[in-house]
Every structure is written in structure tokens, then in C-alpha cells.
Symmetry: C2
Subunit: 144 residues, 2 copies
């Protein structure tokens, strides 16, 4: 049953609801592999789409679970929402204060800690946001 859904129905559904805009958003996010905000994506599309359309597309993709997002306050470009392709396992990122890029931390360092917290505080945790801020390897090596 679930196989049928994944193999057969899901692709059709996907095909049906993917407009050129949304298709392109997924392409860009897949190609770049790092969290991107709306204006970054807008530049990348080379004006193929209006910024409002890009926002609408990103929101559609998020509510339909193709992408996920988080807000981040970059010292260079301010508070903005960043989008990434949604994968099996969620990812966190570290943000470099020098070059202002994100680097993925594939494995979540909170795996075990979360259930401890749930138990200790009687809190049901649905999501968690973790972002590191610092100096990335590249900037640490090149700058003295």
C-alpha cells in the first residue's frame, strides 16, 4: 500500500503540482546544497520569475514538505528565511562570520539529549533548531 503510494501516486502528484517556478526552485536548492534565501534564489533564476512568485513557490514547497526553512540573523545580510531541500534526516548548519556561508553538520548532536529533555521537563518536542556561528575551516586557514 505504501509502496504503491510512493512508486505510483506520489510521482503523479508531484508531476501535477510542479509548476515551472516550483520545479526551478527545487533545482536550484538541489544544485546548491546549502540553505538559500529568497533573494539569493531570485538572483540565481536570473529574473525568470518575480520575487513574489518565488516566495509563493517556496511557501508552497514548504507546506507540501518538499523543503524546510529556518530564520537566521546574518550579520551581513540581516534576518532572513533560509530554505533547504527536505531530506530523510534533518540537518543543522554552521554559519561563518567571515565569509557568511553555511556548512552542513550531517549528524544531529542532539539525538539522545532530546528524549532526556522531554522526560525531564514533560515537554513534547516536535522540532528543534540548532545553528552554530563561528569561523569556517577555509576562513580559519586562510586568515592569520
Amino acid at each position: 500500500m505504501i509502496r504503491i503510494f510512493i512508486d505510483y501516486l506520489l510521482p503523479i502528484f508531484y508531476f501535477k503540482c510542479m509548476t515551472k517556478n516550483r520545479e526551478k526552485l527545487l533545482m536550484i536548492l538541489n544544485a546548491n546544497k546549502v540553505p538559500m534565501n529568497a533573494s539569493l534564489i531570485y538572483e540565481d533564476t536570473k529574473d525568470s520569475f518575480d520575487l513574489a512568485t518565488i516566495y509563493r513557490g517556496l511557501n508552497y514547497l514548504e507546506t507540501n514538505n518538499y523543503v524546510s526553512s529556518f530564520v537566521f540573523d546574518c550579520k551581513e545580510s540581516g534576518v532572513q528565511r533560509y530554505f533547504t531541500i527536505k531530506e530523510e534526516s534533518h540537518k543543522h548548519y554552521m554559519h561563518c562570520e567571515k565569509c557568511h556561508t553555511f556548512t552542513a553538520i550531517p549528524l544531529c548532536p542532539l539525538k539522545n539529549a532530546l528524549s532526556d529533555i522531554e522526560e525531564e521537563y514533560g515537554f513534547i518536542v516536535d522540532e528543534h533548531y540548532l545553528t552554530l556561528r563561528g569561523i569556517c575551516r577555509h576562513c580559519a586557514e586562510t586568515t592569520l
Copy 2:
């Protein structure tokens, strides 16, 4: 030398640079014990100060290390910056999706993990932001 600074100079400096506005901001944040955003504080001051003055005061307090802040996207009130009194040890918070309040998690569950990450990725971590989202104990107990 450092003792002289802490015992003598710091209080004078504190006294000198604390305006009524900034004094009140610290009072409110101390009294409430939870992260508060500017408009929440504004309501709490009962119109004693202009909202712009409150923002200026909060920014002053943050750059002078009296308070720290983070941006959070509350599903009820949107993306806003929240401020807390800066303490010896930093705190993280969990945010309830039902009652939209924050609960502190006094001990940071990342203590050890961070140095591992630094080593593995060659990244120098200056700060980290962690927020949990879910259902708080109170809402979990009262709602069926």
C-alpha cells in the same frame, strides 16, 4: 586589578550609563525571567517609553553585554527578536506551540558535542542557537 574593576569601576560605569529606560528594561526582563520581544516589553512599561526608545535601549544593553537575544519565528506572532538577561551560563528555550510561551532549559545539551564538531569540521564555534518547539507540560496535561 580585576577585583578593583568588578567591585569599584563596574558599578560606577553601570550607574553612569543606566538611563531610566534601560533600568526599566532590565527590571522587566529580570522580573519576567523569559525571553521577551520589544512589543511585549512595551506593553509591560505601560507606555512609559516610546517603542523606538525601547529598541534603542535593548540594543544598547545587548552591545554592552547586559542582555542577549535571538530571533524566533512564533506561529502566532511571527518572526521577532527576543531578549533575555545575560547570565553566567547561557540558556536555551523551548517554545510551546499551544500557549506560545518559552520555558528555559537550564543546562545546555551541547556542551560536549561542540568540541567534537569543531574538531571534525575544523570550525571555530563562537556561539550556538538552539530552540525547541513543541507542547509544554502544562498544555500537554490540560488538553486531551
